[in-house]
Amino acid sequence: MIIQPHISIQNLNVHIGENHILKNINLDIPDKKVTSLIGPSGCGKTTLLKTMNRLLDRQNDVRVDGKVLVDGENIYDPKVEVTHIRKKMGLLSQRPFPLPMNIYDNIAYGQRIHGNHNKKELDQIVEKYLRGVNLWDEVKDRLKSPATRLSIGQQQRLCLARGLAIEPEIILGDEPTSALDPISTQAIEELFLQLKDKYTIVLVTHILRQARRVSDYIGFVYMGEIIEFGPTEEVLLNPKEKLTQDYVKGFLV
């Protein structure tokens, strides 16, 4: 069904302390498509997302077993350089967290920490990615002002641009619109649709309508297990599993 997985999760088990958070996950995230992970709160979908860029490493008492292959490389291999893995992925969190610096520096930051200090190139990159998220016209006259002065919707687009500026292959979104108003939400959703030609996008969302609007594939997560995975319309409209049926029932009526 899926020809070319970009991220391939194999026999993944995650324990946090005594709790078995993710149970034997097998999942192939298709290349250059939008994949949504849906499921009730606390089902483990955010944890699943965080295993993909190893942000989970930061937590206490976490044990990860199994493999997560990105471009065929197991990112949990002890020899792997974790910063290199994360550079391949841009993360969009629930609420935007601009870095404590101005708009320009926020975008240039990723390039700078990876060694690019060429002023001219940085100027181009900043403009390119701010244009990419349709923010350039709104901020081009105040690139040196604090990023925190932007509205929350603008901040979220800034954070997306910041993530894209390190030239990742994958975008991970952890309910990226949950703090935004409907218009900003729409702006972010439209961006995802534009971006999926170039990036593989994995989205955690609560909003089934959003999942339907933007995604090509949906994975339904329940109690730490992948219950069902398939093309969006199929999962939402003709779910095979009883649990999925119950969960999307509200969506159908």
């Binding site: 942000l55 930061r58 629930q94 967290f97 870095l99 404590p100 930051y109 920490i113 990023a147 993530g163």
Partner: protein, 279 residues
């Protein structure tokens, strides 16, 4: 009935506020009214002449310079040691890691140890190492005393930096060191408050420097010479039976207060300018 309750608490709250702010004004009034008369240019520009403590001429420049040296020296040294501690327990160690917990427990205990104990401890080290009372010994002892203050206050502000902020840097491929720098930048106003707190403690503490920095009428020109400090200068002058000398003690207190106030104001301005990019 609930209205009465409300009013009683309102009165209590207002009373407490009045007590605390009037205490401040009473302190300021006392030292200024007693000290301003004796405050002269000589006080701040001359070192004590012979017989200064029995009413002869001179000033307390030795104590001003000594206090400034010790305070700045120990604050810088203290920061140099505290910042790595805070970064380690917040960014490098995982939360609730044993070493981080032990560190937090230790500085909480150290925080509560009275400064005279630090003074005695500093003195013991001095004797052990064969040092005389000196500027260096004073700086080291005061540094030991303010490290818990610095670590505790900075840890407090660094800990409230949202997890998602550090995750944002990690997600961009940042190392832990790069993340730490962003976290510190986000915490600048809190760090400045911490510096102020420790600066105030360092410049005002007499017990720490009593045995370690010693007291002298001359200005120290190197780290191994003894140094006078303002609190001790106040203490020696106030213990004099001569009224004139006692009044000079209040003048010294005015100088000490003005230094602390000036540092506070400068720091507030600096913090405002440095934190304009903060969330």
């Amino acid at each position: 009935m609930r209205k009465i309750e409300e009013n009683i608490f309102k009165v209590l709250m207002i009373l407490s506020t009045i007590i605390i702010s009037s205490t401040l004004f009473m302190i300021l009034y006392t030292i200024f009214s007693k000290g301003l008369g004796s405050l002269s240019w000589d006080m701040v520009s001359k070192i004590p002449e012979g017989g200064f403590y029995i009413g002869k001429g001179g000033g307390i420049l030795n104590a001003i310079v000594g206090s400034v040296y010790i305070t700045i020296g120990s604050t810088l040294l203290g920061l140099l040691i505290s910042l790595p501690i805070v970064i380690y327990i917040n960014v490098y160690a995982k939360r609730n890691a044993t070493l981080a917990t032990i560190t937090r427990l230790s500085y909480d205990i150290l925080f509560g140890i009275p400064s005279i104990v630090y003074g005695a401890f500093g003195f013991a080290i001095m004797v052990y190492m064969g040092l005389k009372t000196s500027l260096l010994a004073g700086i080291i002892t005061v540094t030991l005393m303010i490290i818990p203050i610095l670590v505790r206050a900075i840890d407090e502000v660094v800990r409230v930096v949202p997890e998602d902020m550090s995750n944002a840097v990690f997600a961009l491929g940042g190392t832990r060191y790069e993340t730490a720098k962003i976290i510190l930048r986000q915490s600048i106003p809190g760090i400045i408050t911490a510096i102020l707190l420790s600066f105030g403690r360092a410049i005002g503490d007499a017990a720490c420097v009593l045995f370690t920095a010693g007291f002298t009428d001359s200005i120290p020109t190197s780290l191994d010479q003894p140094a006078a400090t303002l609190p001790l200068s106040i203490f020696f002058q106030l213990s004099s039976p001569i009224k004139e000398v006692q009044n000079r003690a209040y003048a010294a207190a005015v100088i000490l207060t003005i230094i602390v106030l000036a540092i506070n104001i400068v720091a507030k301005i600096a913090s405002k300018n440095l934190s304009k990019n903060k969330i």
